[in-house]
């Protein structure tokens, strides 16, 4: 029987308020008797750690970075959504909820998304009070811009560095609690296992990345805020250290993993330039507000362009195909990410791609510069243009940007109930590492919103309900489960160090990434997925017999760190393929070529697949068990998503 999602009764607009009243509270004097571990200190983790410490709990926070300020939340560019309706353009909590459920292609839980939209307004208040310098109008009030998948301007931003400013806000709140001694911060510490005692999460095992020391830590509850798993593709817009290890170890200890195949391919990234490439760089979606996406109308023109026989300027206006504006007149260049990505791929598949590889389309600012002036464009997007020029050596004020889709975000993640609790009691998941709010596709500017909603305004309430039912007796690492988990971690490190083969972790990671991108990327087929599964299994066997790691554990050893993460990606990759195979429909970021409308749009199957696929670990090399949480839509009408 599937675990209860614990969605409160009552009308959707009243569920959260009712739930906040119904949950048990921990009295102020007792809060200091509870210890909480927070793993990851990005937006979700830092905001949760700070807020819980403010309430009086003792928090231990862990980050594998040298400082909490480095988490990859910092790289989010475009903005954060909130239903403030400051622009008087018809926004509301219900509209943000509606847009998010629709944008997610009807594969998210209504109640969670509604709550997200409700608390979105509090996030903006909170961040402004912290000193986050959002963009403002001349009258001194906050500015907004529009983003993909919405017809209102509800996105708050700080030039192209919104994630940085929000993370530094959360980091400042966290720093204040560290100074007060309410948060004990462990930097350069990587979680390598979850400790479960009597069926409940009781602690973690970590490795100190400087000394190699293996440590155990106990607490009354554990929160994972460890981000997404996009780096399973090797090349993605994620930072190099982003990994699935913490979430995956929790999965192997009993936490269900939901919708792993729902990955977001972001349409506007700088294209790959060579096989040495170590990561991909995103160009904010906000650029689609003013940039126009196009390719040459004729394949022959594109070919001549690629060969360098003609230049962009030689292509007349009439010979350009602004394909998003042509196909989706209502939303134009601002269609949601999955639609924009798939269309770019279609153009390149037709042979109309540009750039030396033919795997790129243009994002052109010429019209905007003509209409508004280069200064106006620079004020809005200056840092993005500079970044583009640094990487490509081309000036985007003179030449259109070349962009191509790249893996950016993972909607799937640890299954959580309405309280953000996983299937392991006492283990919570916040931010990108849970599956909660984005369904099969995340709208732009919603990741920051979700991370901060979970950390500032959801977990601080819901975790109290669990703790109030847990005795406030001190917890220790004496239980044999700690020694057992620690021994397991040590044995695995020894194994990785002793294979002494010929291939590096990076080589295995690239090979895995290639399989995932080819067969489980922007377009998937049953045949391709079956092939991918066999390939991943083969690669996994090779990994455990031919891996090369040098150095020792008792030292800063970045090769060893990487090896452990790749080992977990190999297992996750196989589960993603299983999930994509199970889902015989197309929805959001999951596009199965067998299931499309005559116009080539994603064809959902609501009768058979309106569920959350929650996978349950069954042991080494055993097929995982699929559990299905049926999704019920009472407030949003399921329709064929149309942005025409």
């Amino acid at each position: 029987m599937f675990p209860d999602s614990k969605i409160p009764d009552g009308p959707i607009a009243e569920k959260w308020d009712k739930h906040k009243f119904d949950v048990k509270l921990v009295n102020p004097a007792n809060k200091r008797k509870y210890d909480i571990i927070v793993v990851g200190t990005g937006l979700a983790g830092a905001s949760a750690a700070a807020s819980l410490a403010e309430l009086g709990y003792n928090v231990k926070a862990f980050s594998f970075h040298d400082s909490p300020r480095r988490a990859h939340s910092i790289a989010a560019q475009g903005g954060i959504n909130a239903a403030k309706n400051y622009q008087n353009d018809g926004d509301s909590v219900f509209r943000l909820f509606y847009d998010t459920v629709k944008g997610g292609d009807y594969r998210s839980r209504e109640a969670n998304v509604y709550r997200l939209a409700q608390v979105s307004v509090n996030i903006i208040d909170q961040c402004v009070a912290q000193g986050v310098p959002f963009a403002r109008e001349y009258g001194g009030l906050l500015a907004n811009r529009s983003f993909g998948g919405a017809q209102v301007s509800r996105t708050f931003y700080a030039r192209g560095q919104t994630g940085q400013q929000l993370l530094l806000g959360a980091y400042s709140a966290l720093s204040r609690q560290i100074a007060y001694g309410k948060v004990k911060m462990y930097t350069r510490s990587e979680m390598l296992d979850l400790v479960v005692v009597d069926g409940k999460a009781r602690g973690i095992v970590t490795r100190n990345l400087i000394t190699g020391d293996i440590e155990t830590h106990a607490a009354h509850a554990v929160i994972l805020a460890t981000g997404g798993y996009g780096n399973v593709f090797y090349l993605s817009t994620n930072a190099k250290y982003c990994n699935v290890t913490a979430a995956w170890r929790a999965h192997k200890k009993g936490a269900f993993f939901a919708n792993p195949c729902f990955t977001q391919i972001h349409p506007t990234c700088i294209p790959v330039s060579g096989d040495y490439q170590s990561k991909l760089t995103l160009m904010s979606e906000s650029l689609r507000n003013d940039g126009r996406v196009w390719v040459p109308k004729e394949k022959a023109t594109a070919e001549r362009l690629r060969k360098g026989e003609i230049r962009v300027a030689d292509i007349k206006e009439a010979d350009r195909d602004y394909f998003l504006e042509r196909k989706y007149p209502a939303f134009g260049n601002l269609v949601p990410r999955d639609v924009a990505s798939r269309n770019a791929k279609m153009m390149c598949d037709e042979g109309r791609g540009v750039g030396s590889t033919g795997l790129a389309v243009y994002l052109d600012f010429a019209d905007s510069i003509k209409r508004n002036g280069a200064d106006w464009v620079a004020a809005k997007y200056g840092n993005l243009f500079e970044m583009y020029e640094k990487i490509t050596g081309e000036n985007p004020y003179e030449l259109p940007m070349r962009i191509y889709p790249a893996v950016h975000y993972t909607m799937g993640g640890l299954w959580v109930d309405y309280n953000l609790q996983t299937t392991v009691p006492g283990l919570y998941a916040a931010g990108e590492c849970n599956f909660s709010d984005h369904g099969a596709n995340r709208l732009g500017a919603s990741a920051l919103m979700q991370g901060l909603a979970d950390g500032y305004f959801v977990i601080p309430y819901t975790i109290g309900d669990y703790l109030a039912k847990t005795p406030p007796t001190p917890v220790t690492t004496q239980d044999p489960a700690f020694a057992e988990a620690e021994a397991g971690v040590r044995a695995r490190i020894d194994k990785l160090m002793s294979i002494n083969g010929t291939r590096t972790p990076t080589e295995f990671h690239k090979a895995l990434g290639h399989i995932m991108w080819e067969y489980c990327g922007m377009a998937r087929t049953a045949e391709g997925l079956r092939h991918a599964k066999a390939e991943i299994q083969k690669l996994k066997r090779e990994f455990w017999s031919d891996l090369k790691v040098v150095g020792v554990n008792a030292d800063l050893n970045q090769t060893l760190e990487s090896a452990g993460r790749v080992a977990d990606f190999l297992e996750l990759g196989e589960l993603m393929v299983d999930d994509a195979l199970d889902r015989n429909e197309s929805c959001g970021g999951h596009f199965r070529e067998e299931y499309q409308t005559p116009e080539g749009e994603a064809l959902r199957n609501d009768d058979d697949y309106a569920y959350v696929a929650a996978w349950e670990y069954q042991g080494e090399n055993q097929p995982e068990r699929l559990n299905k949480e049926e999704l019920h839509f009472e407030n949003v009408k399921l329709t064929q998503r149309s942005y025409k």
């Binding site: 403010e54 310098p133 403002r136 994630g163 530094l168 990561k279 990487i391």
Partner: protein, 261 residues
């Protein structure tokens, strides 16, 4: 050496790299050769090539800090040919591309050099002193919830933009590495200015600047002698003006201190 040359052919380079086993051991410069480096590679991708090569030869790769590789996380911190983040202005190491170098170049790569940033290993240093300075007061003391509506206090756009400019500091430590005194004034002043400019930060502006400066001194950073190398080498263009603001804030705080102890 500098100057973009997008059509350059693959390069062969000599690297002189600082190797140091850990905080307590002595380090030394070791020479390495790297071949067929594409001008389109980033500097860190060039080091990836070196590290994969070392690994295949059974030698330990060079440890260095990096993460986002898009110039925002502040992790990367290489001292390249005697300059923080290398020869290109306004650029972090990860955004520096090999097209700024030429075939046959010799490139010296060292960690940040400052007593307050001890070396962890090779090119990786410990910058936790920066975190402790922020913990001393780099925040506005409000709890989650109970905050006024975000539009309740209008802030002039010019002020907000200036606060934003100061807030874009990525905490990489290039300012310290570039300073002959290893002073952290640019870093500290960026946070002090951001919060002093905003009305939300006014309540604690005196204690903030006093406490942050005290912590900066405690961490052993050198004094500021207004040379300006910090701002010249800052990859995100944090302005020297912030140091002037810090000094004004500090003087005003000391003259009218609320700190009665």
């Amino acid at each position: 050496m500098a100057g973009s040359n997008p059509n350059a052919k693959p390069m062969n380079l000599t690297l002189k790299v600082w190797r140091q086993k850990n905080r307590n051991s002595e380090g030394k410069i070791v020479d390495y050769q790297v071949k067929d480096i594409s001008p389109d590679m980033s500097f860190l991708e060039m080091l990836d090539v070196l590290n994969e090569d070392l690994l295949h030869r059974g030698e330990e790769p060079v440890a260095f800090d990096h993460d986002c590789r898009e110039g925002i996380c502040g992790s990367c911190n290489l001292f390249i040919n005697g300059r923080a983040h290398g020869p290109e202005k306004g650029t972090t190491t990860c955004q520096l591309h090999m097209r700024k170098f030429s075939d046959g170049d010799t490139i010296t790569i060292e960690p940040w050099r400052a007593n307050s940033f001890p070396v962890n290993k090779d090119l990786s240093v410990d910058r936790s002193a920066f975190d402790r300075i922020i913990q001393a007061g780099g925040y506005i003391s409000i709890n989650t919830g109970g905050t006024p509506d975000a539009n309740e206090i209008p802030i002039p756009k010019e002020i907000s933009d200036r606060a934003f400019e100061a807030a874009t500091c990525i905490g990489c430590g290039a300012c310290v590495a570039a300073c002959k005194n290893a002073s952290a004034m640019l870093f500290v002043s960026a946070k002090v200015s951001q919060l002093a400019l905003l009305p939300q930060g006014h309540v604690e502006r005196k204690s903030r600047v006093e406490n942050m400066v005290a912590q900066m001194d405690k961490e052993g950073f050198g004094a500021c002698t207004n040379i300006g190398s910090c701002a010249a080498e800052c990859p995100v263009g944090i302005s020297l003006e912030n140091i002037a603001i810090l000094n004004r804030e500090f003087l005003a705080a000391k003259a009218t201190s609320n700190n009665l102890s």
